[in-house]
């Protein structure tokens, strides 16, 4: 469903990611992990077509993000690192606007908006101005806009950041439900979240992939914290050697 191959992105002199490859299938939730500045947001921005890679390709449902950008963008729901909100709109006006530009027909718009208001816990604030909402509620609006058009690929950059504990549980349940017939990529710094949610884990460090494996394989005889710390502490050394040492 999502196929990332040999992706490299340079910002001038700085190489943010180099030669990244991984895949995510339909029905999978892929946890994208890595320390601050590892290149998670950069990778997601390229996958969603916001900016081009320096080299490498991304395929969404078989379409190339560069050449068939439109077909790809139609299929993607994206929650950027900072939710892309218009502070002067109310929640409902905003969601209706996003629904329109994401191609929802006018007749289905009200239903779609009601659905995400319910699933993202926004029923109490539909007519509040977004700029006046608390941080957690703004994050919920951000999630709602990513899901409004029932996309087949969801790209979520730190989706549960700033949410209260109950809402975190609700959103995790929601992501789990959604993933049944979709592909989800989410980045997070909360490792228990990955343990609960994800099928597959990709860890990236200093712009390079250090591990790509199923969660079950990685955590067979150790915790995800251990795995994470082990892989990011060895910089760009060969992963297999250290893995042997701890086994």
């Amino acid at each position: 469903m999502i196929e990332v191959r040999n992706l490299t992105k340079r910002y001038g002199e700085l190489t943010a990611i180099s030669n990244i490859s991984f895949t995510a299938e339909k029905g999978q939730i892929l946890g994208f992990l890595g320390p601050n500045g590892a290149g998670k947001t950069t990778t997601m921005r390229i996958i969603t077509g916001f900016m081009p890679a320096t080299s490498g390709t991304v395929k969404i449902a078989g379409y190339d993000i560069f050449n068939d950008s439109y077909e790809c963008r139609r299929r993607i729901g994206y929650l950027p690192e900072s939710p892309p909100l218009y502070g002067d709109m109310t929640v409902v006006t905003y969601l209706r606007f996003v629904g329109r530009i994401r191609g929802i027909a006018k007749a289905d718009l009200t239903d779609a908006v009601d659905r995400v208001l319910r699933s993202c816990g926004l029923e109490d604030v539909p007519h509040r101005v977004i700029g006046h909402l608390s941080k957690g509620y703004r994050q919920r609006v951000g999630l709602a806009q990513a899901m409004i058009h029932s996309p087949s690929v969801l790209v979520l950059d730190e989706p549960t950041i700033g949410l209260d504990p109950r809402q975190i549980i609700d959103i995790r349940t929601l992501i789990k439900e959604l993933a049944a017939d979709r592909t989800v990529i989410l980045s997070t710094h909360i490792l228990p979240e990955v343990s609960q949610l994800c099928d597959k884990v990709v860890i990236i460090n200093q712009g390079r992939i250090v591990v790509e494996d199923m969660l079950a394989n990685l955590t067979r005889d150790t915790s995800l914290e251990q795995v994470f710390l082990r892989y990011i502490s060895q910089d760009s050394a060969v992963p297999s050697g250290v893995a042997e040492g701890t086994a």
Partner: protein, 257 residues
């Protein structure tokens, strides 16, 4: 096209919830009223002088169009040079700063739709803005006998001028994520276009013709006199198309940098 209208609607709505729109509209109305009041005063003064000279022939030649409407539109055009950059500065710069640019560029919208949406939004705002000042010529039509055709032609000129200014504003806003930078660079370009014909007086005939042709205001003043010529319409059309095309390229380059 449907998407462009959706974006235009959003632009217009957000313009009218921000205080900028009201400051701009009020300022434009106030200045327009001040110009109108003073021009009318001067007109009355002239009428009275010629009446006291008992010179009905000259008095008949005093013309509301020439002495009130034309200078009013001319002054408004100068005010537009300052106000239009303020209207357009947000268009792209604010989206980039707020991160909503990421939403627009990852939605299934073409860049043409985004640019057209922004353009139509600002055009609608300019229509409101100019329509508000139409009360002044309307007063003349009620209480005097100016030539309505010349007023209409002048207003068309002012509208085309404002739209051309706005496309320059969209272009400079697409270069930056800073509204002040967008506004100031637009202002500078518009002032340059305003004074570009100054050397024409002393330059050789070919250069003078070129400079005059480039000047937005030269074409505008023809229309204020009531002369609608194809060459002026083509000129405004080309400026608008060129600026929109460059804006398209600029947005595109941000996407595929």
């Amino acid at each position: 096209m449907k998407n462009a209208l959706t974006i235009a609607g959003k632009e217009l709505r957000s313009a009218f919830v921000s205080p900028i729109a009201y400051v701009v509209l009020t300022g434009f109305m106030l200045l327009g009223g001040w110009f109108f009041f003073n021009l009318l005063n001067r007109f009355n003064f002239l009428v009275q002088i010629y009446m006291s000279f008992r010179n009905p022939e000259v008095q008949m030649r005093l013309n509301l169009n020439e002495l009130v409407v034309a200078p009013l539109l001319g002054n408004l055009s100068v005010v537009l040079i300052i106000l239009v950059p303020v209207i357009t500065m947000r268009s792209f710069a604010e989206e980039k700063r707020a991160g909503t640019y990421e939403l627009l560029l990852t939605s299934p919208l073409s860049i043409a739709e985004i640019v057209m949406g922004k353009f139509l939004g600002v055009v609608a705002f300019l229509v409101v803005m100019l329509a508000l000042t139409a009360v002044y010529p309307a007063i003349l039509l009620v209480y005097g006998n100016p030539e309505p055709g010349i007023i209409a032609s002048g207003y068309l000129g002012l509208f085309l001028l404002a739209v051309a200014f706005a496309t320059v504003g969209l272009l400079t806003s697409s270069f930056t994520d800073n509204q002040i930078v967008a506004a100031v660079s637009c202002l500078i370009v518009l002032l340059l276009l305003y004074v570009i014909s100054w050397p024409a007086e002393t330059a050789g005939p070919t250069l003078a013709a070129v400079l005059r042709y480039l000047s937005l205001t030269e074409h505008f003043s023809e229309m204020v006199k009531g002369v609608i010529e194809t060459k002026d319409l083509i000129y405004f059309g080309s400026v608008i198309t060129l600026a929109l095309y460059l804006t398209h390229r600029s947005v595109e380059s941000v996407r595929w940098r």
